[in-house]
Symmetry: C2
Subunit: 370 residues, 2 copies
């Protein structure tokens, strides 16, 4: 059993303003990394700027992070950090800005060539990281991963190093009030996938399973309030908090177990079909669990039981209700996506490793074939 | 909700030898802090020395830590660390050597006067700490506390600072094989007390309660194998591991919640009556839970239910079976002990704070009055 979770996590209303004094520990000049819009409209950027002003910490803003951030984007952010002599990096947003912030925190102080970025060999220097999630899905605020879009390998690839565990994660569900139902569902499904995949990982331990079960119980409780047919304004702050808490716990799970074939497969759907990351995982999960069930019925039954479900059909119905109509892909896509997934690191992290043929089968059962 | 647990925990057979490479991260010269005997006889010291030799790390040994280590002892250890220019500190043993190692790690690099040692104001410097527990009770391997015997205040007092969270905790149940049944019971009861007190603390959170429940389930499972009437050789390595795991989890609990009035009261029994620390807590717990039950029946019922118990009488029976005949104290002791406990920091950390009269009542119900 291994446990390592060095990130200090504070979750409460107004935690950014109330814990501004902690920011002083990380330096005199901050680089805020965020996207173009959401941090401005949900109040998180404003809170952080106020916290920095109160503490008399200078700051610069790099707000050019797009969804599924590219390698170019993080090199640009790192150049900006060097130019401004940033002491630490504050990432605000969903997975994309947080993951970009993590890569920038390394690249600002280490010279790493683009072709070596994903090879896993890094020096010891990194700028301290403070992360503020504004969606409840990625769990990136408590992981050592930065997932970037890698044009070379035509998929998403991860930087994985304990260096980029954030020093501090500040979780305030009020920033999620304005999220649409669609984003709320997709991110919740991503978190569910993390918790479930943690239990499917060869690195699952008693400890990570405890966190996964705890996370699943929080998330599953919230599912009854999520539906494409409901308005997102029907979601109370209490539900938003449970989702945020559950997704953070699921982040702690994958920090220990990594993700599995589900994520490896989902990346193709996002890269080539522009299907949202969480949604992609959610579309694949039911058929993937059916695949595992053939070899390890007990494990799948355990997961279903934690979720309060009896059969895998119920699991599929639940996910289809959340995700609506499945996207279509072609026979040629199937072959290509399976060919990419079969080479992914995450694949061999799964308790039962699918063959290429099995990957094709899972893809084809998870989507509509045109 | 706050979560902070920066210690890397590795639990497996032969983890000291198998993870020797990690020690390189902390420096070139180690100070091993331990007691006079047990680390030598249970194999832990030998394993560590071998690990250090493999990594070509020099080491010195300070093996003068007694049970309930004194302030003098840790100043002596710190002088030794300065003299030997130790880069990091390795504590091996039960709570006493581990707690001494923590204090030494600070005092070796900070000038702190004895009268200021417990005032809570420290600089930023500390030697990195590696801890190897050889009993399953204290949980000190994952806490920010160092409990020392304080002659001035006639009790045990704690240094509490995030500085002394160990960098690394290495847990190998094989070092517990030779522990007597009496020590096994007393330490297990200490761990149980940590998990339960975590739930009685005003700082209890959803997260710490999850850890407490997880810990209690592990520990309670083992209780059926513990009895003063059984031989300790009847305990399998699997049971030893569960106890060690449960006590580590309980340490994570109190790292977040602190301890409560039970520990505050127990310290007098240890200081004046030489009653083992874990045993002292165990003697007090049944009457303390009865006291809380008057104000918060639901909380106590929850704890009992997690333990698979229905009534507080069953709880008391269980503890008496483990602990055997209670020690005697005098009426004068009662008054004195309550007078000391009423001034303890831990007291006000309890959800229901007892008055001095109530403390006297709890003491008198927990011991035999001579």
């Amino acid at each position: 059993m291994n446990f390592f979770m060095p990130t200090k996590v504070i979750m409460m209303e107004d935690c950014v303003l109330k814990n501004s004094a902690l920011l002083k520990n990380y330096g005199q000049r901050a680089l805020i990394v965020t996207g173009a819009k959401s941090a401005k409209s949900n109040g998180s950027l404003e809170d952080m700027i106020q916290a920095l002003i109160v503490q008399d910490i200078k700051y610069d803003i790099f707000d050019k992070v797009m969804a599924n951030p590219s390698v170019n984007c993080v090199y640009e952010g790192a150049d900006f950090a060097r130019e401004r002599k940033s002491d630490f990096v504050i990432g605000i947003g969903g997975g994309s800005p947080m993951d970009a912030a993590k890569a920038i925190a390394i690249l600002a102080v280490q010279e790493i060539k683009e072709e070596e970025l994903f090879l896993g060999s890094y020096g010891n220097q990194v700028l301290p990281l403070v992360l503020i999630p504004t969606t409840a899905g990625t769990g990136s605020e408590v992981t050592q991963y930065s997932i970037l879009t890698n044009v070379q390998s035509q998929t998403k690839t991860s930087i994985s190093t304990p260096l980029i565990f954030p020093k501090l994660a500040l979780l305030d569900a009020k920033y999620m009030k304005t999220l649409s139902m669609e984003i709320t569902i997709n991110t919740a499904v991503d978190a569910l996938s993390h918790a479930i995949e943690g239990m499917l990982s060869i690195r699952a331990s008693d400890m990570s399973n405890n966190l996964a079960i705890y996370s699943l119980k929080k998330l599953v409780y919230c599912l009854r309030f999520l539906s494409p047919d409901y308005s997102s304004s029907s979601l109370t702050i209490d539900i938003r908090e449970k989702l945020l808490y559950g997704s953070m716990l699921a982040g702690m799970v994958i920090a220990h177990t990594g993700t599995t074939a589900v994520h490896a497969m989902g990346y193709s759907l996002t890269y080539f079909k522009n299907i949202d990351h969480g949604r992609a995982n959610g579309l694949l999960l039911p058929s993937f669990l059916r695949f595992i069930m053939k070899s390890d019925q007990e494990l799948i039954k355990k997961i279903l039981s934690i979720m309060g479900l009896e059969t895998i059909d119920e699991f599929e119905t639940l996910f289809l209700r959340l995700l609506g109509e499945r996207e279509g892909i072609t026979e040629k896509d199937l072959e290509r996506f399976a060919g990419i997934a079969i080479n992914s690191k995450s694949l061999t992290n799964t308790k039962v490793v699918p063959t290429k043929e099995e990957l094709i089968q899972i893809f084809s059962r998870s989507l509509q074939i045109n």
